[in-house]
Symmetry: C2
Subunit: 228 residues, 2 copies
Amino acid sequence: MTPEKNKIGSLPAVRRLPTYLHLLRSFSESGREMVSSTHIAEKLKIEPIQVRKDLAITGIEGKPKVGYYIPALIDAIETFLGWNNTTDAFLVGVGNLGSALLGYEGFRKHGLKIVAAFDADDSRVGQVIGDVEVLPIHKLSDLAMRMHVPMGVIAVPAESAQSVADAMVLGGIQAIWNFAPRSLDVPDGVVVQNEDLASGLAVLSVKLARTREIRETAGTMLPAGNGG
Amino acid sequence: MTPEKNKIGSLPAVRRLPTYLHLLRSFSESGREMVSSTHIAEKLKIEPIQVRKDLAITGIEGKPKVGYYIPALIDAIETFLGWNNTTDAFLVGVGNLGSALLGYEGFRKHGLKIVAAFDADDSRVGQVIGDVEVLPIHKLSDLAMRMHVPMGVIAVPAESAQSVADAMVLGGIQAIWNFAPRSLDVPDGVVVQNEDLASGLAVLSVKLARTREIRETAGTMLPAGNGG
DNA sequence: TAGATTGTTAATCGATTAACAATC
DNA sequence: TAGATTGTTAATCGATTAACAATC
């Protein structure tokens, strides 16, 4: 009954929440007020029951026959994710990916504010990317401690990821968003989210290979393709 | 028995394969030849049985008591993912993220080669990023058709993602790696992999909130923090 | 009211984990 | 040989889907 009990929600459901949020915001911008699970499901090509189950973890309640009140739903998702409060973060590694993350305005809408960037490469130190100056990596721990920064983003090569994580832990950082393709050793109480882009590519590669097989098999089974 | 029957493997398992691959390559570089599931599991902090199950989808077989022969294992994973052949791809949208993807050398190791980039913004057309010149978006369909490009990468804002997908489909592209935060309408036979960075951030945000709750609860239950 | 939609409770499905025989 | 590790078959766990009573 009470919204937001100690529900955590299944992780797959949590992963889907930002997708709902995007859609709801676009509905909201086009002046819409109410939406049903059926309609959301159609747009996202999933099942209505899954939509209702997913939204339930935020504590929101809809109205039978009517659906959900969009502003309340947006607020419920944002609150559940903690995205209506800003979380400060340090980013380490201002190569291609790091610079892209630093320059991405959209994180603001996700409550994430990168307040400082670091790099081990002296030639990058002093650069200003986005609004942020790149600082030498050895200043990270101390600064994180003094600023009580809760989150760190790792965008360095695999080889240096662990040492960066160590520095973050030393600085009291509690959550690490890790874009380096290797697993990190951190003490209990520090949470890590690995974001290996190669995972998505792996799935896509396998799917592509499969559709090709199907296509070829179909080809040998028919007299001829309906050629062009 | 025969390696690579029509096994597809569970998607979560496929997502983990690149992680194994990274680790195995680093073992390989340090001159190692054999590895057991136990050892892989330790490094990645997962269960040995999961490692064996995951590796089994590639068709590889290990030897009792000894483990797996690393070069064969690397080859099996690469073959399963199709990463030992190069897949050509077009990338659309050379903003922050698009440029980062374009500049990322590591995709070569994943069999992905971005052979052309496109943008709707005239001021970006003609720029050279990585080795690739940025072309006007209206050339995409025709060029994709002539070059038989199988894969497209979408790195444009949500609003223009669908029209880019349409152009890709028109050009005969069969697999779309979509970094725009919205779902795409594509015909049957075209596969889409959505890569919404916000999903990972959502999970991390919820985990962080949870650890904080635990910390605070623990705080109220103890006489005092072991201060500093 | 009648009907559409929610939210709960149960059933199914798939992935992970456990147990253990086979084997080098 | 003895023992460690694989790979198979079974059990558990969790997420998705289905069925349906509650309700605006």
